[in-house]
Symmetry: C2
Subunit: 243 residues, 2 copies
């Protein structure tokens, strides 16, 4: 597949990966010793070691001194799913993306949520808007931005600009907390998403930090019939959601 010449340590790693994936090397089984691979590939131990260390770091194998190297049991309790940025996700599906601002307010933090974000008497920018896929509402977004951390947000016109996408460029985050849940559509959601009353919606709550500082809190509520989170995962590394 890859037309370019592959570095040897990458080739060794891929060979082993392939054997593990295909089942030729099953979990628990012993992998060849470094010195065996070294003679097989006719290379130095450092090169083999680089390949094996990478596999070990990726959690595919376990290495024990004196004993050797063994294929690890993949653990289901740490399976992983991608959570895409909604704008990127929509365009990746080949649909056109749009954002429509419903409400914008600047105020002093009063509610618990606002104070958790901006602290006592901190100022927050509150935005409510709609994410559109091919012109149709896909998700409602309710966002709070900590103006102490992102003062420049106050001057931005978010009428048709996804705040999440803007923030991504303006203030890179270092930590995110995501929470996925389900909720029934209330009257407001029903109206805004144009769905049936009581329909199930997927809710994504996200809080982001930049270093120690809180940046933003957002809740995106998706039309449950039109949106789902998909992830393909294998023992080496996850891949992107399918088209």
């Amino acid at each position: 597949m890859t037309s370019t010449v592959m570095p040897l340590h990458v080739r060794i790693r891929r060979d082993l990966e392939d054997q593990i994936r295909s089942g030729a090397l099953m979990p628990g089984q012993k992998v060849a010793f470094e010195h065996e691979l070294m003679t097989f590939y006719n290379c130095s131990r450092m090169t083999v070691n680089k390949a094996m260390s990478a596999l070990s770091a990726a959690g595919l194998i376990e290495r024990r001194k004196r004993a050797g190297t063994f294929v690890k049991l993949p653990r289901l309790d740490s399976t992983v799913i991608d959570i895409p940025d909604i704008q990127i996700d929509i365009t990746a599906r080949g649909e056109s993306y749009g954002f429509e601002l419903i409400e914008r307010r600047v105020r002093t933090a009063v509610t618990a949520k606002e104070r958790e974000l901006a602290g006592e008497d901190g100022r927050v920018l509150s935005l409510t808007g709609l994410h559109l896929a091919s012109g149709k509402p896909l998700a409602v977004e309710e966002r709070l931005i900590n103006l102490a951390a992102v003062p420049q947000a106050e001057a931005v016109d978010f009428s048709h600009l996804s705040p999440g996408h803007w923030l991504l460029e303006a203030v890179p985050w270092t930590q995110v907390e995501n929470e996925i849940s389900a909720t029934e559509a209330d009257a407001e959601l029903t109206r805004r998403l144009g769905i049936e009353k009581g329909q199930a919606c997927l809710v994504l709550d996200r809080r982001t930090w930049s270093g120690p500082e809180r940046i933003t809190t957002v809740r995106q509520t998706y039309d449950g019939t039109r949106y789902r989170l998909v992830a393909h995962f294998d023992t080496l590394r996850r891949s992107a959601p399918r088209p």
Copy 2:
């Protein structure tokens, strides 16, 4: 924290990680050259290189020849969430776990879903059951197991044994596909989970492979008010769901 002496390349990596996390090194900023770190830590280039390569592999930094090394923008479109095994998740919350089998059938693949799993005329084990947290139903599970791949499943008594947990030990997977969606509780879910009719439920569909072979297909439908997926993620590595 760590009482043992840390290898130098780990220390270098952690120092850089900490600087990135704390905001001392912001995305886009240039990281010191290898030869600078080499004199700073008084070590060889290979040691610095090992640390930097690891950070590069983890996606924290980007390295360009001649130009140097730069802190990467974390990309929201590849944020990640843990999907725990339900049994492990429930016990981790300090609740007692239980499984209750509702229906068990062995049959030849007829529906599209069954044939996708077991192929034309393949035999499948169909299991329906309830996951209980502290004695109360938390999720309904509908599972199909490919008996060609896991013949020993036919002899197992799943009356009070979580099939997913058993499978994990019996047949290690190499690939998983997860899908999260939301649905309204129908009459059957209402009855089995003891919830209100029409309530929103979180649905987790999972398909697993072992090498090229399909192992199982499962749909777990959760009581939306009692279950949510949580993940804390930072630019270096994700951590477990909070208690």
